[in-house]
């Protein structure tokens, strides 16, 4: 992997950006990718708002079953799938394309070539997704979890992935410098892994279905890896880039970075079958999934130590920076959500949590509390550098942070406490099923409240974002970064 004297990998990032030649180089890179990145982030914000609306409709329906039942287009199953796909493929992937590809370009230290390729890929992506989500609401939903997009839209998505993969390889091919920074390992891995997962899952479930439960096994190998080998490495790559950048301090340990990356790559992709514990699949397969899920403790603890030791002593600076608030919140949640996930894979725990809202809480904890928050942090860092202007409102950033942070924590607590009781009661045949359903109601209502908090947060984010994008010069031109406590000097 690397020679043992190479313990200064952290210095590869120009984290001390007072050097004018490096600053000039970075802004040239930023300019080269600007139109593509902004296109992706604008798309992500749009999908975020739409996905939040779908989410609220679905959440309210679970405790007010007579809400919006007049038409099949808003029935629960379709709203839930529309929400998931808007968020995962619309918000999540556009954020990844916007933030991670930009960081990739910076780390390759060369202005990007063929930026047009990214715009074409972005157009394919968003058109394909629009057709796909409209199609599933219309009734062409596949009812395969995480692969709900109808058959006629998926080729557009596949083309887009392939174009982005090609771009990634080319950016890499023309990079300057010897070192490959830890963020690049994660990005490269994810860019390579995801198309493989997606194409195999499409073929084996939709186009040429495998027999019987081999479909289900492929389904969960894929769906868990969307989190494990796509969202997670992308968010970790962003965290590994931003933490040293903002705090001006290299990553604590290069060796822990290596261990964290390879152990994640080894264990995470075996873990998915824990979604089938107790189900009609061979026990050896389930056991392999449980072992891998528990082994995930290694990469998680390693990354937690590495990030924590980098940040330690600089919490005050971190708290003042919008970027760091979001990134640190996300990084802490990565530790918690992953440890909970490992525990959920144990048979005795899974017996309670399986088939309940506990799992739904867990999915949001990971996808939003960890991935979403870190990517928000990435956008707060990126946009001022793209647009050469600052975020207009610190107050809106605070509303966004607190709405998101409190919203997601309330959701996780409500669904996991409620889900735990739901599981215990469901396993007790003395309790009538409809009583179990009724006992989840307070928790489901609390979840809807959390959804409104998230809506407020997302609207605040969108307003601040578009204000920044379009109202150039309308707000006071600032020459200092927008910080959340402005009385002191500090990090950006």
């Amino acid at each position: 992997m690397s020679d043992s004297t190479d313990n200064t990998e952290g210095t590869v990032i120009p984290y001390t950006t007072n050097d004018p030649s490096i600053r000039a180089e970075l802004s040239e890179i930023d300019r080269s990718i600007r139109s593509a990145s902004i296109f992706f982030i604008v798309s992500a914000v749009g999908w975020l708002l739409l996905g939040t609306i779908f989410a609220l409709i679905a959440a309210i329906k679970l405790h007010e079953p007579s809400f919006a039942v007049g038409t099949e287009y808003t029935t629960f199953g379709r709203m839930r799938a529309a929400h998931l796909n808007s968020m995962a493929l619309g918000f999540g992937n556009n954020m990844i394309f916007g933030v991670c590809l930009w960081i990739m370009a910076r780390l390759c230290r060369a202005p990007i070539r063929h930026g047009g390729l990214l715009l074409i890929a972005g157009a394919f992506w968003n058109i394909g997704l629009t057709i796909g989500i409209a199609g599933l609401i219309k009734g062409d939903i596949t009812s395969v979890e995480w692969l709900e997009i109808p058959k006629y839209a998926t080729p557009l998505l596949a083309i887009s992935y392939i174009l982005i993969g090609i771009w990634g390889v080319m950016a890499f091919r023309f990079r300057k410098g010897e070192h490959v920074y830890v963020s690049q390992w994660y990005f490269l891995g994810a860019l390579f892994w995801f198309p493989w997962l997606y194409v195999i899952a499409q073929i084996m479930i939709i186009w040429a279905p495998a027999q019987g439960v081999v479909q289900s096994i492929t389904n969960w190998w894929f769906a868990h890896n969307v989190l494990g080998l796509w969202l997670t490495p992308m968010a970790l790559g962003v965290a590994y880039y931003l933490i040293p950048k903002v705090l001006g301090r290299p990553i604590y340990s290069y060796y822990l970075s290596v261990l964290g990356f390879w152990s994640l790559a080894l264990f995470y992709n075996w873990a998915g079958v824990h979604h089938l514990i107790g189900g009609p699949v061979p026990v050896w397969l389930i056991s392999a999934g449980i072992v891998a899920s528990v082994m995930m403790v290694i990469p998680v603890v390693v990354v937690a130590i590495n990030h924590h030791m980098t940040v330690v002593g600089l919490h005050r600076e971190g708290w003042r920076s919008p970027t760091m608030r979001f990134v640190v919140f996300g990084a802490i949640n990565y530790t918690f959500v992953s440890l909970i996930g490992s525990a959920m894979a144990l048979r005795d725990v899974n017996l309670v949590t399986h088939f309940t809202h506990f799992t739904v809480g867990h999915a949001h904890h990971g996808a939003y509390g960890f991935f979403g928050m870190i990517l928000f942090g990435g956008v707060y860092y990126m946009m001022p550098r793209m647009l050469q202007r600052e975020w207009p409102s610190a107050a809106l950033i605070k509303i966004h942070f607190w709405g998101s942070a409190l919203g997601i924590l309330l959701m996780v607590f409500a669904l996991q406490i409620g889900g735990w009781f739901q599981g215990l009661q469901m396993n007790n045949p003395e309790i009538a099923f409809l009583d179990v359903v009724q006992n989840t109601m307070p928790w489901l209502k609390a979840r809807s409240v959390s959804g409104f908090l998230l809506l407020v947060a997302h609207v605040a984010f969108a307003v601040n974002f578009f204000w920044m994008l379009f109202a150039a010069g309308k707000f006071r031109t600032k020459d200092t970064p927008t910080l959340l406590h402005t009385q002191e000097e500090g990090a950006a």
Partner: protein, 223 residues
């Protein structure tokens, strides 16, 4: 990390490992199971064989029920209803009467799309056709789909009333009208009746067809 080929090889082999181990191995091990009789008998050499003339299970899916499955898929029923049963000592699936035995891979071999599901906001449906049968079951499903509160007060399942049409009774009531008592708050206006559309009818036939009422050599139904 400087060696790019090594990085790429590592990235490739990590996913190749789980793809081989999980997906390909499953496909090889049980991706070509066949139908079988409920139990096997020994031939003269002591090898297990299928007795002749007995029904092969699981039955092939087809006909009206298969059309109903399309409706089940298009309504996203899977997001609240699983179709799998865990063994008796692991969870209350059997104790709740959802099925008489655990389901195994062979139960799903004739399904073009497998809908195991991961959520039980509503009860498991793998054997719902065994629990609710015949005309009584059909009537129950229609009432329940039209408005779940009629049969299951306090349920959070949405109404699928858009799969039914309310029409004025023309002469004699239609034979397939949904039998909602006139004093029910969900009853249609006087002189009207509720008629299932084609989609409602095939959906109910699909639900009636979901049955695990047979043994397999690997999982006999125990009394």
């Amino acid at each position: 990390m400087k060696s790019l080929p090594l990085l790429f090889l590592g990235i490739f082999f990590m996913l190749a490992f789980s793809f081989t181990g999980i997906v390909l191995t499953s496909h090889v091990q049980f991706g070509a199971l066949e139908q079988t009789t409920e139990s096997l008998e020994a031939d003269e050499n002591g090898n297990p064989v299928m007795p002749e003339g007995e029904t092969l299970y699981p039955l092939r899916e087809g006909g009206v029920a298969l059309q109903g499955k399309e409706v089940y898929i298009s309504m996203g029923c899977i997001y609240c209803h699983s179709q799998q049963s865990r063994r008796d000592s692991f969870g209350a699936d059997v104790a709740r009467g959802w099925a008489q035995r655990a389901t195994v891979p062979r139960d799903y071999i004739s399904q073009s799309r497998v809908l195991l599901g991961t959520m039980r906001t509503g009860p498991d449906l793998v054997n719902v056709g065994g629990r609710l049968q015949g005309d009584g079951g059909r009537e129950w499903h229609h009432k329940h789909l039209y408005n779940p509160q009629i049969t299951s007060k306090g349920s959070n399942m949405p109404s699928f009333a858009f799969l039914y049409k309310v029409q004025a009774i023309d002469g004699a009531p239609s034979a397939d009208a949904v039998a909602i008592p006139a004093d029910s708050p969900y009853a249609p206006p006087a002189g009207h009746e509720i008629i299932p559309t084609h989609r409602a009818k095939v959906l109910v036939e699909y639900l009636l067809s979901l049955k695990i009422d047979y043994s397999l050599p690997e999982v006999p139904i125990l009394d």
